[in-house]
Amino acid sequence: MADKTFIVKIKRQQRPDEAVRWEEYELRYRPHMNVIICLRDIAEKPFTRSGSESTPVSYEANCLEEICGACAMIVNGKPRQACTALVDDLEKPIRLEPLTKFPLIRDLQVDRSSMFENLKRTKCWIPIDGTYDLGPGPRMSPETQEVGYALSQCITCGNCLEICPKVNEHSNFVGAAIVSQVRLFNMHPTGAMHAGPRLEALMGPGGIEDCDNAQNCVKVCPKGIPLTESLAAVNGQVLVHAVKSFFRGS
């Protein structure tokens, strides 16, 4: 009996300046496969459906349990994590494309370092080091911890930027993930001591004002983070900060 097979179509580019080509692969079906397994199968036998020899597909993956964010790509038109994209649930042929809002490296691999740069610019960390022991920080209420926990699950995958109509070549919007991290660090009692500089950073070009409320981000977040709430909350924080620092001085 012949093995059950299915088709995977992959948008490929050796280099960013090379022409795009779509390659089709016919893979042997096994139950519970995910998209990463498909890419590994291709790496084992890099022959296209028509039999011509190709190369293993370049992609990023790490944890394989949707907690690292590395394997974000466009699967059947939707940005998502390849590790939790199960072959059984996907329409065939399966179409794989790289994220389009980040510089392409090769095939399905993109350079998402701009998100890390933006986390640094918005000071998304909590300074606890000093030249002497700073002692224990203030306590956090269980309610704040609960909201903070949801926000802390961000894996910087970039899906929210990929789906955002305001992230494109005409706009420098930092995207929902960064804004949500600003909310998380401003919520922390020690982090709140540096809320001002974070909000200042979001007041510049590409900051919070670029959000036009299409609310797509929250639909594609693999971690179910309440991104639209974060955007509105930080909008309010930036506004209060702007008014206060204008009238009262910073």
Binding site: G77, K78, K101, S114, E117, N118, R121, T122, L161, I163, P165, K166, V167, N168, H170, S171, N172, F173, V174, G175, I178, E200, A201, L202, M203, G204, P205, G206, G207, I208, E209, D210, C211, D212, N213, A214, Q215, N216, K219, P226, T228, E229, L231, A232, A233, V234, N235, G236, Q237, V238, L239, V240, A242
Partner: protein
Amino acid sequence: MSVAATDSKTSYLLDKLQSLSGVIPIGAFLAEHFWSNSYALVSVGKYNDVSRELQQIPWRIFVETCVLFIPILFHGLYGIYIWWTGKSNAIGHPWMANWLYVLQRWTGIIAFVFIGWHLYTERFLGHGVTSYADVQRSLLNPWYLTFYIVGITCASFHLGNGLWNFACKWGIAVSVPAQRAAGWFGAAVAVAFTFIGVAIVLALHYGAFPMGSYVQ
């Protein structure tokens, strides 16, 4: 995509002013405009009295310039810039809010064109003096009537949906239930404004006075 290294707050201020100007004074004026023009549903005499009253306010040209012309021009032109910085993707991702975003973009453009034409024909061609008969004459033209209905619907939608955006963008409605409530409020405003605006132009077109019984 990066937060710029500059300290410039200009874009923040302009964006906030663009958002605010849509509600005050433009949205507030639309409410006043529909209120005054609703006298077309009462009687010719009442309509002309109210029009004359408005056309003879003190400091008229300053009030018109500062409260209407400049805010509308700013909201419209800066709005076109904001339109240019977005790229719709609702065809592939047809979620409700994504469609509202697309509609907000296009109704804004249509309403801006309509308001420009409406100001030119009704405010500037008549040198600031119009009466029931003048407005009715233009609305007898079926193309004018159609353009009015399209313009009113777009402006009303843009205001209602804009109020929802405003509630989110000014951090007033933060929680999902609050954002949903703001959305329903905006929808109610859009429906009510469309209904009232269309009723006014239809009453003028047909010379009907459905509220004429108020006149003693």
